[in-house]
Symmetry: none
Subunit: 215 residues, 4 copies
Amino acid sequence: MKTKKKQTRRRSKQAHEAIIAATLELIEEKGYLRLSIEGIATRAGVGKQTIYRWWPSKAALIIEAYSQKVTSNFQSPDNGSLQLDLEELLITIFARIRIPPSSKVMTGLIAEAQTAPEVAEQFYTGFIKKRREMVFGLIQKGIDRGEVHRDTDMDIAADTLFGPMWYRLLLGHGPLDQKFAKKLVQQVLAGLSTRRKETLQGGGDSFSIQDSLSV
Amino acid sequence: MKTKKKQTRRRSKQAHEAIIAATLELIEEKGYLRLSIEGIATRAGVGKQTIYRWWPSKAALIIEAYSQKVTSNFQSPDNGSLQLDLEELLITIFARIRIPPSSKVMTGLIAEAQTAPEVAEQFYTGFIKKRREMVFGLIQKGIDRGEVHRDTDMDIAADTLFGPMWYRLLLGHGPLDQKFAKKLVQQVLAGLSTRRKETLQGGGDSFSIQDSLSV
Amino acid sequence: MKTKKKQTRRRSKQAHEAIIAATLELIEEKGYLRLSIEGIATRAGVGKQTIYRWWPSKAALIIEAYSQKVTSNFQSPDNGSLQLDLEELLITIFARIRIPPSSKVMTGLIAEAQTAPEVAEQFYTGFIKKRREMVFGLIQKGIDRGEVHRDTDMDIAADTLFGPMWYRLLLGHGPLDQKFAKKLVQQVLAGLSTRRKETLQGGGDSFSIQDSLSV
Amino acid sequence: MKTKKKQTRRRSKQAHEAIIAATLELIEEKGYLRLSIEGIATRAGVGKQTIYRWWPSKAALIIEAYSQKVTSNFQSPDNGSLQLDLEELLITIFARIRIPPSSKVMTGLIAEAQTAPEVAEQFYTGFIKKRREMVFGLIQKGIDRGEVHRDTDMDIAADTLFGPMWYRLLLGHGPLDQKFAKKLVQQVLAGLSTRRKETLQGGGDSFSIQDSLSV
DNA sequence: TGATAAACGAGACGGTACGTCCCGTCTTGGA
DNA sequence: TCCAAGACGGGACGTACCGTCTCGTTTATCA
C-alpha cells in the first residue's frame, strides 16, 4: 500500500522560522496572555492565515517554539549514584525552567490545557513525559544497584521530584535553586520518618473523611 | 478605627449575590478562560459597571466566589500519628479539589497570578497558606512525638506533599484519589532509599551542570 | 397608551456625524468598491462596532450619507409650462448627479441592490421615489393645462425621462448636460412620429417573438 | 485575421470550458458580488492561475461566459412599420434580459465598469452597441418611409427606448413585459404633448438652475 | 418625611484581537 | 511544458469582550 504524493507547493521554511522567532521574541516582551496571533504575524511579516494553516492554536505554536529550546542537548546524568544523578538532573532542569519567560509560558500553557485537551496532550508529550521517563530510568538503575526499595512506586517518586518544582514555579513561595534541588533529593530519598520503612507499611483506613463540594 | 458613613445608598446585597452566583454558574459551564465579565453581568441581570465597581479584576471576583466555598469548616486532623494525620489531610483536600470546576478555576487563577502580583498574593493567602501551616503543625507534632527527624526542612516537606497534588491536578497524568494520598504519605515519610538517612547526608558538589537558556 | 422610555445611554451625535463625514470623504477618495467599514471607522476615530450597531450594511451607511446631500433644498419647478418645468428639473438633477463620486456611489448601490432587497428598497425610497413623484405632479399640471394627453401613462413618462439619465450615467455613452436635458424633454413631449397620436393607437399583436434564455 | 497557434496547449480547451461552465453555475447560485475566482477554480477543478492566465479580471470572464449566450441568433425585425419593428425588438430583448441571473450579471458588470474602463468598453461593445445600431437602422428606415421626423436625434431616441429598460431592470419598480414594450414604443413615437412638434421647438433658457454639489 | 446622592440596569463608546474569506502572486511536482 | 493544487503576504470581514462612559431610575439614609 503506497501513499500517493500530492502535487503542490510545500510549506515555506522561511515563513515557518520567522513565525517561531517572532513568537519567542514576543513572548518575552509581552508574556503569554498578551501574546496575539495578529502580533506574531505582523512581527514575522507573514499573513495570519499562514499561522492558522499550520498551527491549530496559539498554544500549539508556543509549544513548538519552546520545544526547540527544550529538545536541545539534554542527557540523562550518570554518576553511579542515584542521589548524585537526581541532584544533577534537578539542578539542570531548575536552571532551565526558572528563567523568566519560561514560567509564564508554562503557566499559560497549563491554563489553556485545562479547557483544551489537545493542548494538554501536546504539553505532556512535549515537556513532561521525557523528564519523567528519565527519572524512571535513574530509579531503575538505583534499584538494580540496591540503593532503592524494589517496591517503590515510580510514578509517585517522579511526582515528589517534579511536583515541588511546578508548585514553586507557579506559586513562587520558594526558589528553584541548587540548594533546593539537593535538599529535595535528599529528603525524597531519606524520607521524613525516623523509623524504618517496614514499620510504616499499611496505614489504617479507620478515620472519617471531611468531605464536601468545596476545594 | 471606623469609617464614617456618608448619607447615601449602600451596596446592593441582591446584586452582589447575583453576581457571585452567576460567576459560579458560568465558570462551571465555560471554564476560567472563556468566562467574561460581560457574560456574568448579563446572567446576573446587572450592569457591567456594578461588577467593575466592586471587583478590580476577574480574578478577584472568582477568588471571592470560591473563598465562600473554601472557608467552610475545615479542621486540622488529630489521630495521634503523623502518618494518619497526613493521610486524612490529603484525602480530604484531594476530594475537595479534584471536583471538576475547581481545577479550571485554580489553573486559571494561577495563570493570571503569573502576570498580576495582587492575584498571586490573594491566591496564596486564600488557598495555599493555611494548608501549608496545617502541615507545619502536624509535622511539628510528629517531631515532638519523635516520629520525625529534628532537622527536617518543613518547607520542602510541604512541597513534597502538596506539589504532587498540583502537578497531577494541572497535568492530569494521574488520579487524586485516596490510594494516591496514602502511598504519597508513606513514600514521603519512608523515603526511597534503602539506606539510613545518615548515610545520605551531604551529597557532593563535584559534577558539572548542563546549563542553557532553555527550559 | 404610553411608550415607556428605556433607561440607557443614547446614540452619540458626535460619532454619528464623524462616521457620515468619513464615509463621504472616503467615497470620493476610493470609490464605492474600495470603501471599507474598517477604513471608515479608522478615519472617523470610531470603533467598528459603533458602525455595525447603527447601520446594517455598507450600503445603508452610504445611502444615509448621500441622502443628507440629496434632501437638501430641492423644489419642484413651476414655470407655467410643462416643457420648461421638465427642462429645469432634468438640468438640475443631471447637474447634481454627474459629479464624479455620485456616479460611482449610485452604481455601487444599484449593484448591491440586486442581491440585497433591503438596499433596493432604501435606494428606491431615498433616491428614486421623490423625483418620480415630482414628475407625476408636473405632468398632472400639464394635463390640467391641456398640454398633455389625458390618457398618458405617467409611469412610462417618468421612465422615458429618468431612464436615459441612468442609462447614460452607467454606460457613459453620452453626456448629461443641459443640451441633452432639453433635447430629451422635447423629444419625449413631441414624439418621434410625424403622425398624430390617434393614428398610432393599438399596435397589432401579430408577430412571433424571438425568444430564448439569453440576454 | 488568424493568430497562428504556437506549441501545444493540450488540456486548455477542457479547462477553458470547465471554467466557463462553473462561472455560469456559480453566478446563478451566488450572484455577481459573491462570485469568487477561488470558488470558480474549485468548482471547475482548475488552478486559480489557469483562470488568471486567460482572463484579466472577473468581469472579463463573465463577459465571455455570457457572450456565448448573447451571440445566439438575433436578427433585426422587419415588419414594414417602425412601430411594429420597435415593439418586436423590445419585446424580444425584454424577454431575454428579464430572466433572473441576467439582471445580476448586468448590474455587476455595470458596477465594475465604473472603476474599470476596460470592462466598460467590453460591456459596451458586447451588450449595448449592437442593439443601439439596430435601433438606428430601424429609425432610418422609418425616416425613409416618412414615418419619422428627419431631424430626429437618434441617440436620444435609442436612449428613450433602452434607458427605461435598464432603469426598470436595475430598480425593479416596474415589469419588463410585452405590455410595457408596446406602451413605451407608442409613447416614444407619439410623444406626450397634445401640440404639434413645431410648436414646441426651441424652449427658452430663461430660468435659474438649482445647483449644488449633491445628487 | 422628603431630599438627595450614590448605586443601579442598561448599553453606547473607542479599542484589540479573533478566526475566516478571498485577493492576486508564486512554487512545486506529476502528467 | 503545462497545469492542479495550494502556500504565500495581505486586506477586510463581522463578532466578542475589554474597561470606560453616560444615561435616567431606584432607594436608603439623614436633615
